[in-house]
Symmetry: C2
Subunit: 365 residues, 2 copies
């Protein structure tokens, strides 16, 4: 899912021979305060007619339409959407609330959301909540205050639940992180199964002491993945050791690194330290590899590592990361569609959706 190119005027763009070719023609009058009324006057029609052509209504005589259009771009007029929004009672803005914009996993999802939103004439307002309930609530209030028409929430389930109670009627959907019981439309993956897949891969490579570096248990996905991990181990006849598990309140590289170092140095019964680690996000896993290296362990020879998400970076680190791939782009796109659907038909029963994940085997495990 790589970006794209967008060459524009590349290559030929010389240092700056002439920075302003535009000999200062008369651009359509920047026109600060210019209202539909002036355009109407200039075109010799009524405001109603101008409004009609602006909105592409059918019932306007071509000749009239042309007159109006001419007046519009002679004057450089742009509709004032503030007024339009008030009148039509919609802002055409969609909120997206993420715990951390800097996380590449969320970044890709956000792209998916943005792309379908724009496709449908909406803009996306990105909100970095830092997983803070207070900020979350204040952003959510934008819905009630009519600043936004709908919202997509990727924040921890614990936060969502609080939100849901206070406002189950508001138009919002959950993405990646969701509680099916909550009655809010959602899209995500089967975290329990995915975690099991990761662990079973490690098992199949002969590992029996498998560590889990997990995120905050505020996240339902963290609890689900942990359960998947636990059950997979148990099914293989292994009794999970508590000392193999850690919960972090951050997904940063640094957090993963120090957690891994800690995990390996912990007093384990002689050589009973984990021979493999399952980290619930790639950022964590990349940190883990770094942390392992810092305490003299090699990956995958001494310790195998599997991550989660399959961000684009996963293939680039050394060793390339074995991981569970989530369809990030689609997750975002689907969330946006679900929301749009809800907006179009508030009464319809919007379903929950699960998208498929898959195990990507590279060299780290």
């Amino acid at each position: 899912m790589s970006k794209s190119v967008s060459k524009a005027a590349r290559a030929t763009s010389l240092p700056s021979s002439k920075l302003r070719p535009q000999p200062e023609a008369q651009p359509p009058r920047p026109a600060e305060g210019l209202s539909i009324a002036q355009v109407a006057e200039q075109a010799g029609v009524s405001v109603a007619t101008v409004s009609r052509v602006l909105n592409g209504h059918e019932n306007v005589r071509p000749a009239t339409r042309d007159k109006v259009l001419a007046a519009v771009d002679a004057s450089g007029y742009r509709v004032n959407e503030l007024a339009r929004n008030l009148r039509t009672a919609e802002s055409r803005l969609l909120l997206t609330m993420v715990p951390d914009v800097g996380n590449p996993f969320y970044a890709e999802i956000v792209r998916g959301i943005d792309s379908v939103a724009r496709q449908h004439g909406y803009f996306m307002l990105l909100c970095d909540t830092g997983a803070d309930p207070g900020r979350e609530r204040s952003y959510f209030d934008l819905l009630r205050r009519r600043r936004a028409d709908g919202a997509i929430c990727l924040d921890p389930a614990t936060i969502q639940q609080a939100l849901g109670e206070a406002s189950s009627a508001l138009p919002w959907v959950a993405c990646c992180e969701f509680d099916p019981e909550m009655g809010v439309p959602y899209v995500g993956i089967d975290n329990y199964k995915a975690a099991g897949d990761a662990v079973r891969h490690l098992l199949s490579r002969g590992h029996r002491r498998i560590g889990l570096i997990n995120s905050d248990v505020d996240y339902l996905y963290a609890r689900q993945r942990q359960q998947g991990y636990l059950d997979a181990l148990t099914e293989a006849g292994i009794t999970p050791d508590e000392r193999w598990r850690m919960n972090l309140n951050s997904l940063d590289y640094e957090a993963g690194a120090s957690a891994a170092a800690l995990l390996m140095q912990q007093p384990h019964a002689s050589n009973a330290a984990p021979s493999a680690i399952f980290a619930v996000s790639d950022t964590l896993a990349i940190g883990v590899i770094h942390g392992l290296r810092s305490v003299g362990k090699r990956v995958p020879d001494d310790v195998a590592v599997v991550g989660f998400d399959d961000i684009s970076l996963a293939a680039q680190v050394d060793p390339p990361l074995t991981t569970i791939a989530q369809p990030m782009r689609e997750l975002g796109e689907t969330a946006a569609r679900l929301l749009l659907q809800r907006l179009a038909n508030p009464l319809a029963n919007v379903p929950g959706v699960l998208l498929p994940h898959r195990l990507v085997i590279r060299r780290s495990a």
Copy 2:
């Protein structure tokens, strides 16, 4: 201007046991259409008074204020900002246009912007332009249509120039990428000097064949860094070889990886391939390290690598990346402040500002 809502999500749409438990307590009345008038009535005062307490004006008797406040939260009323915005003629939305939200460098800057925007009562609308002039223009139009009060642009200078000609009067500022000649307020670093610093570091380590993996020349910073690279080499008595230089139209890891592989395999006069590479972004540099490894070169033993930006990941890869640190957070914060300043006083002469960079030496070079 499409508005239909396309199909829902396909894939495994869960059976959806019971999608709407909806305990239906009685929260303060979700109150869809509730206007200031009803609150006024309920409080036994006029709309003007309600408005006054809502906006924290002084001249309201405490008793009256309390009555109003009581009515407000008894009814669960929230102001309709659509109306407020129209009346006050401002949207309190700031646009941020970036070429790629997924790039960790931009992500951190965006955080800086968002933080000071919120601090000042603004929200930030994030726009991923993909460095596409068309999308850029359409986003920019949001300013004219009053959807946003101001904008911060991080897109290529070539695009900015087109924008500037069409609308130098609009309230916007440039960040990281800027043309001082353009008369638009900006914040960034001294790219020429920074690139020189990177190259001089390599020189001091004894390298004389230094490659440059650069981004698209649409970016002024790319041209400036190239010049810094060229001059540093020349000053050291080295004649730069054209075959040491590459321009990429992407900053993705993959792009860096394949460029590096290509650079090393190119037919150089016998063993005249570069012994060091300067990449103009950390993402590129990380890709470069990966690409080098894929053709059997070790870093830094066979080839040294220095990057640019100092994203958090730089310290986590193997080997940790030597790089030029940019004060990303401050860049964003400063850009936001400049814009706010311009908004507060449109006539004031807002200056350009350069922030300091610094060389961070780690193990890759």
